[in-house]
Amino acid sequence: MLDTIGVDSIDDLFDEIPGHLRAAVMEAIPQGMNEMEISRLMRRRADKNTKALCFMGAGAYQHHIPAAVWEITTRGEFYSAYTPYQAEASQGTLQLTYEYQSMMTALTVMDVSNASMYDGASSLAEAILMSVRANRKSKSRKVLIPTTVNPVYRQTAHTIVKGQQIELLEVPYDKTLGTVSLEQIKQVQEQQGGDITALVLQQPNFFGCLEAVDEITDWAHENNILLIAVINPLIMAVLEPPGEWGSADEKVKGADIACGDGQPLGAPMSAGGPYYGLLCCKQALVRQMPGRIVGRTVDLDGKEGFVLTLQAREQHIRRSKATSNICTNQGLVVTASTIHMAIMGAKGLENTAAACFANNNVLVEKLTAIDGVEKVFAGTHFHETVLQLAGSAADICVSEMLVALMEKGILGGYDLSLDYPELGNAILVCTTEMRSEEDIDVYAKAMQEVLSSAASRQAAALPETA
């Protein structure tokens, strides 16, 4: 090969690189390993991660995934293919993506789905950017986000939209219900002078509570505000899907944009990803949609086939005028999710979601039976609930409780005191279909033990009274 090129050594091929800039040996990188050695290292590290009974949600959920899902997904033909730019040689990925779009629009009852975004949080950011481009009746670039929207979603949205003079305005929640009220939304709207571009609404919200989606969606549309829904797609098998929010006129009914994380549909928790962001919209907004979209068409013989379409929106064509800089989607995770939805079917997803709801009610019932453990918000909650350590349980703070539970092999929930200090000693617990009644009993017993031993420590520390 060197002869064909006409050089003496491989090193000659690098002679355009200035000699004094050439890299030295990279000492900080260890020597290479063979597969046996690296397997040993990785197994050791994987085993170091503690296995715990998971009652944590807050944006990532432990669900059952059929074995077939990742068996098929990691076939080399899906795993090691790239973006389907050569459509004829990528019909597998393209048809699958079209089927994904079909399933996601069916689940959300939205008109259009793209081929996916990075994750739920960044998908919300893109939904906000999209709403600002799409809502031509509004000039304010002001977007309302209730504080019942996942805090890390709000933080991510802020990072991504702040370069574009968009104002994200918080709306506080009702302290009794744990949901945002229309009155509070109206108040912020008035303070801001009336012109609002979009409103974000999460269902179920971060506290697991159910927002009054119909009433709020109708109000938004009456005020020329685009409604951005943040949803858990699995739960939409049971709850009213965003495409049907609002009770008004069929023509304006429904959220304008729906986004969320697809993780509950076939992606393992995997320390945070890869997941994927779902992004759906009404037909009228399709040209403002960022990311890849697959369309069905025909070939020269009139045979059905699939291509990437509406590419004039995208960065590789429009460059600085593109709808977003996004290039990839989360293709492989979407592959898994599509197979997952196909195997589960609507019935399987519905039963799974309903089991999450029912199991969580059992958990809440058993935990609140413990003296001092109380439910914070009235009203319906789906598969996550805010609990408070109050009264006789108030002596132990949530972070201590969670550490003590972890020592008993339980990932007990999310400590809300950082993001919501006003809730005091509060914890967000979650139950999925994976948690059996026995698991729940283990949790309740452990919490009781932690509280009892804290109480006896407390008693021992008290001076004896005569």
Binding site: T4, I5, V7, I10, F14, I17, P18, A23, V25, M26, I29, I38, S39, M42, R45, A46, N49, A52, G59, A60, A68, E77, A81, Y82, P84, Y85, Q86, E88, A89, G92, Y98, E99, S113, S122, V152, Y153, T159, G163, L239, A271, G272, G273, P274, T297, D299, D301, T309, Q311, H316, R319, N325, G331, I343, M344, G345, A346, K347, T352, F357, L411
Partner: protein, 481 residues
């Protein structure tokens, strides 16, 4: 046939979900779904067969030579997948306390450190979930850096005209104006034009080196000097890092901030279009602005840094830690290679590209840049063939598919007419390279003797050429229910 068209009412993979539906009567009626979604109703076997068959309609690295320029379609070692999917990693909730997540965090910390060493940067964040998000983080850090110094007038990002489309799109997303810098015929940036373009409005220059034209930017030191003297920062688009791994480091070339496409250089799977990873590295002065989370080592344990530790951070880019499964695969790949292996990557990728380029010339093809070394990729222009035989680069690409090769990148970079951007990667043996060149030569002959064969290609794939105009005009984006 779509999966929906296999449906039969009432069928599903029953053993995969709770047998009966638990009551949801406690939820107010108006908040409940009225009608089940129209998802497929198929057995597990039907689904498995359908998706296995779909997979067989794809070209992939595991099945075909895939010399897609600028995408670095190298072999994805199977062990990287198997080991990243160990239950200890898969079952970790992202909000697991750091103390119980040490195995994973150790991998992330080591990956950060190895990336620093491989690129010559002072610190890395693994948060960005793709190259474009890495670019976003990089440009946002440049913005934050200038603003932190009260230098508020820097409103322009410079981008060479050969750059990837994501570069200008990113700059705009971060609130900057974009100014294009022309490229000379020899592939180098037009230094005189750059000198005229920089000024107190310059926030930075985004540069890919080796460039998208497949050559090393020889004036890199002079470019760095011009940009830095104007007060701007230098951004390295790591799309082509594979070409120089272990040979020269972006940090040593004077770059202040870089992103590395781990799905290219560090072999994480492309997955039919993602998930990727665009880890960002920075020089000392930009460390405070890195996106979160970052993993720190304290004594012998690891923890995530938060906004409290890094008040000047540009913030979060995702709900959790970017794409951890992808990051684990990159970590495993880097440990496989080790420091010697990394140098071999650049050497064999460059050898393969230069060999193919020499072969292309020998076989009568016109090179976009004739008198220079190729990096890990090179460009053929088919403008003569287009003129003489009325065949396009796209016709060549489609005919290659018929002959069992994935096509190179076509029509990019935009500067070169009728181009094929060819990147063999280090993974391929000489036989594969020769086979591809034979196919290309055969097509060149066919173009002269029987151009219809090219126009009608592909003939052997599941579909013939698809009507893209119809796809965009008569939008059909979901199965009609």
């Amino acid at each position: 046939m779509l999966i929906f068209e296999h449906s039969s009412k009432g069928r599903n993979g029953a053993p995969q979900s709770p047998r009966d539906k638990a009551s949801v009567a406690a939820i107010p009626e108006n908040l409940l779904r009225k009608k089940n979604a129209t998802l497929p109703e198929v057995s597990e076997l039907q689904a498995v067969r359908h998706y296995t068959r779909l997979s067989q309609k794809n070209f992939s690295i595991d099945t075909e030579f895939y010399p897609l320029g600028s995408c670095t379609m190298k072999y994805n070692p199977r062990a990287c997948n198997t080991l990243a999917m160990l239950p200890g990693f898969l079952n970790a909730h992202p909000l697991t306390p750091d103390k119980q997540n040490q195995g994973f965090l150790a991998c992330m910390f080591d990956l950060q450190s190895m990336l620093c060493e491989a690129t010559g940067m002072a610190a890395f964040s693994l948060a960005p979930m793709a190259g474009a998000q890495g670019e976003f983080a990089g440009v946002a850090m440049i913005d934050a850096y200038h603003k932190s110094r009260g230098d508020d007038g820097r409103k322009e990002i410079l981008v060479p005209d050969a750059a990837h489309g994501t570069n200008p799109a990113t700059a705009v997303m971060c609130g900057f104006a974009v100014r294009e810098i022309p490229t000379l015929d020899n592939g180098d940036v037009d230094l005189d034009a750059l000198k005229l373009a920089v000024g107190p409005q310059t926030a930075g220059l985004m540069l890919t080196n080796p460039s998208t034209l497949g050559v090393f930017e020889r004036n890199i030191e002079a470019i760095a000097k011009v940009v830095h003297e104007a007060g701007g920062l230098l951004y390295y688009d790591g799309a082509n890092l594979n070409a120089i791994l272990g040979k020269i480091r972006p940090g040593d070339m004077g770059f202040d901030v870089i992103h590395s496409n781990l799905h290219k250089t560090f072999s994480t799977p492309h997955g039919g279009g993602g998930p990727g990873s665009g880890a960002v590295g920075v020089a000392e002065r930009l460390i405070p602005f890195l996106p979160l989370p970052v993993v720190a080592k304290e004594e012998n344990s690891f923890r995530y840094l938060t906004a409290k530790d890094c008040p000047q951070s540009i913030g979060r880019l995702s709900a959790f830690m970017g794409n951890p499964g992808v990051l684990l695969r990159a970590f495993i790949y880097m440990r496989f290679l080790g420091r010697e292996g990394m140098v071999r990557v650049a050497e064999f990728a460059t050898l393969n590209a230069n060999y193919m380029m020499a072969e292309a010339k020998r076989r009568g093809f016109t090179l976009a840049i004739d008198d220079r070394r190729a990096s890990h990729e090179f460009i053929i222009t088919l403008k003569n063939e287009a003129r003489d035989f009325h065949v396009s680069a796209m016709d060549f690409a489609k005919r290659l598919l018929d002959l069992g090769y994935h096509a190179p990148t076509t029509y990019f970079p935009l500067l070169v007419p009728e181009c094929l951007l060819i990147e063999p990667t280090e993974s391929e043996a000489k036989e594969a390279l020769d086979g591809f060149m034979d196919a290309l030569e055969q097509i060149k002959q066919e173009a002269e003797l029987n151009p219809e064969l090219l126009h009608a290609a592909p003939q052997t794939l599941p579909v013939k050429r698809l009507d893209e105009v119809r796809a965009a005009k008569q939008l059909d984006l979901a199965f009609a229910r």
